[in-house]
């Protein structure tokens, strides 16, 4: 069960869910329960209600009763994260956050016994909170939690103790949530997710289609302030100005933030999967400026493509991944950004070594056979003595 589902939905948790569902279907009969929403801001109904088949899996969609009112949600957020805070306000906030689909929750209640296991993605949404409580004894939770403080809300403490098992994305996520909610007794494992890997990489094809010449670093994802892109633009422009570097920054993804008119920054728009992989193969390094990540699939993909990563050190998950893999550098200030990028730009041997380390790390932890094996072990986890 996930808040949105579709072949064109690029959101981290949603894409994560689709990959896991499709891979687990080799081992079990899998069905998907989701809403009719496409847009993650408003949750407006986009897909028709009912069942359709996507990549061989039945997908049951339920209407969102009320799209998100951003003003009401902002007000509820101010109350919950400000002075007024109680269970009533937190539940009201959750309803405002959405996707508010009581029909989906009722369907989980009605059909909970038809399935041996329910896997819920993203702890923070209305659908997961109420759906998981309806099928807790059969539930696995994939929290995809970021260090944004939402997990500190009181309503989530019992939620994390409710499922049979928790599928963590990283050791940092596990430590953070266990410390905040006291769910250390719940079985679980750090699993993450694999990726839809390409048959081959063709950097020349990317160069030809994009017209991009010379060395460049790459950002892939939504171009958004929340993803750290504004800071990245500032740092990168200052870097070029101070060092005289000819390095360029190529951006792949939908822009919801104005992109500065600068010869060093090139927006390539949304690319199909093959284009993204070829861009990864052609770049010098991947930039990952986001402060809030629970895994960052694109970082893992860059490592599979043997490219180093320059990540925001303020994100504990990214910093930890870089340290464990020995495949990326990280920065917490402009000075560190400048020195790290200068080092990566100047030293091809270092880039190649970091890239090789990344590939090894990916193959060891995020190859699909490893991920599937961990999921299957958690799905077989014996029932807990008491269920919240």
């Amino acid at each position: 069960m996930v808040q949105r589902y579709g072949l064109d939905i690029a959101g981290g948790a949603e894409y994560h869910c689709r990959l896991v569902a499709e891979h687990l279907s080799r081992h079990a009969q899998v069905e998907v329960f989701t809403t009719c929403a496409l847009d993650y801001v408003t949750w407006a109904n986009h897909f028709p209600e009912g069942t359709e088949t996507l990549n061989g899996l039945p997908v049951h969609r339920f209407r969102v009763k009320r799209p998100r009112d951003t003003v009401r949600f902002a007000r509820a957020s101010r109350e919950v994260f400000g002075a007024r805070r109680g269970e009533r306000e937190e539940l009201a906030w959750l309803e405002e956050e959405g996707p508010f689909s009581p029909r989906l929750v009722r369907e989980v209640e009605r059909r909970r016994a038809e399935f041996d296991r329910w896997i819920f993605f993203s702890y923070r949404y209305y659908t997961t909170y109420h759906g998981l409580r309806a099928a807790a004894d059969r539930a696995l939770l994939v929290p995809t939690a970021e260090d944004d403080g939402v997990y500190d809300l009181e309503i989530f403490r019992p939620l994390f103790k409710a499922p049979r098992a928790i599928v963590w994305n990283s050791v940092e996520e596990k430590a953070m949530i266990e410390a905040a909610t006291g769910c250390a007794g719940v079985p679980g494992d750090v699993v993450g997710v694999g990726s839809a890997l390409p048959e081959r990489l063709d950097p020349a094809a990317f160069r030809a289609s994009s017209g991009l010449e010379g060395p460049f670093v790459l950002y892939v994802g939504r171009i958004d302030e929340n993803k750290g892109c504004r800071e990245l633009f500032g740092h990168f422009r200052r870097y070029r100005e101070e060092t005289g570097s000819q390095l360029r920054l190529a951006l792949v993804g939908k822009a919801v933030l104005p992109i500065p008119a600068d010869p060093g920054i090139v927006h390539l728009g949304f690319l199909p999967d093959a284009g993204k992989w070829n861009a990864l193969a052609a770049c010098e390094a991947l930039m990952m400026p986001s402060r809030y990540e629970s895994l960052s699939m694109v970082t893992l993909e860059a490592w599979w493509a043997e490219r180093p990563v320059l990540a925001n050190a303020k994100c504990a998950v990214l910093r930890g991944q870089c340290q464990r893999s020995n495949a990326g550098l990280y920065y917490s200030s402009y000075d560190e950004f400048r020195e790290s990028l200068a080092l990566l730009e100047a030293d091809a041997t270092l880039r190649a070594t970091l890239g090789r380390n990344g590939r090894r790390y990916f193959d060891t932890h995020y190859a699909w056979d490893v991920v599937e094996r961990k999921y299957l072990a958690l799905l077989d986890e014996p029932t807990k003595g008491s269920v919240a």
């Binding site: 400000g82 990280y330 200030s333 000075d335 020195e339």
Partner: protein, 182 residues
């Protein structure tokens, strides 16, 4: 690039340590962005006029939003804080809402106050960033002034040394064999 990776097997943490050392060396006593931010948060009175600024005002604003800002929704004007009586009063006001709308239209006022509440939030952020930048500039000016004084001192010393050496050269030129000093 003076900072080089020697080994083929890299250790990212060691590289990052090296990078930080290099930054420290370059900075030579200047504050980092993070240090400036920290100082701006905790020692604002040290660099701004204490009579005009409360050093804890940003922290206060952030932690107790309900005390300085208001939350204004479409039903705020009809609410009551008198417990059970208030609930009844609120219900009556709700019932009479269509009647009072015959006399005046509260919607523009509700929209304006709601917007003002949002604007108050933005102003605090703006004020905070402004104070941060002023603090940063103050610190940088102080640091540059200190460095300027230090450089002036070194320059004075070099000028004095140069004059002394020139005098020595002239003195040796006056030597009987006419050769300048080596």
């Amino acid at each position: 690039m003076s900072f080089e990776i020697q080994s083929k097997d890299v250790d990212v943490e060691a590289i990052m340590r090296g990078i930080r050392e290099r930054i420290d060396e370059k900075r030579k006593g200047l504050y980092s962005d993070d240090e400036i931010r920290e100082i701006a948060d905790h020692r604002l009175d040290a660099v701004l006029d204490a009579h005009e600024f409360n050093p804890d005002f940003i922290k206060d604003f952030r932690s107790q939003e309900a005390r300085w800002n208001f939350i204004f929704g479409k039903d705020t004007v009809y609410e009551s804080s008198r417990g059970t009586v208030g609930t009844i009063l609120q219900t009556i006001r709700g019932v009479l809402k269509p009647v009072q709308k015959l006399f005046w239209n509260p919607n523009p006022m509700i929209a304006a106050l709601s917007r003002q509440s949002d604007l108050n939030d933005y102003y605090v952020h703006l004020l905070h960033n402004l104070a941060l930048e002023v603090t940063k500039l103050n610190l940088e000016v102080q640091e540059l002034r200190n460095r300027s004084l230090e450089l002036q001192g070194r320059l004075d010393f070099q000028v004095r040394r140069e004059k002394t050496l020139e005098q020595m050269v002239v003195y040796r030129d006056d030597a009987p064999d006419g050769r300048p000093a080596e």
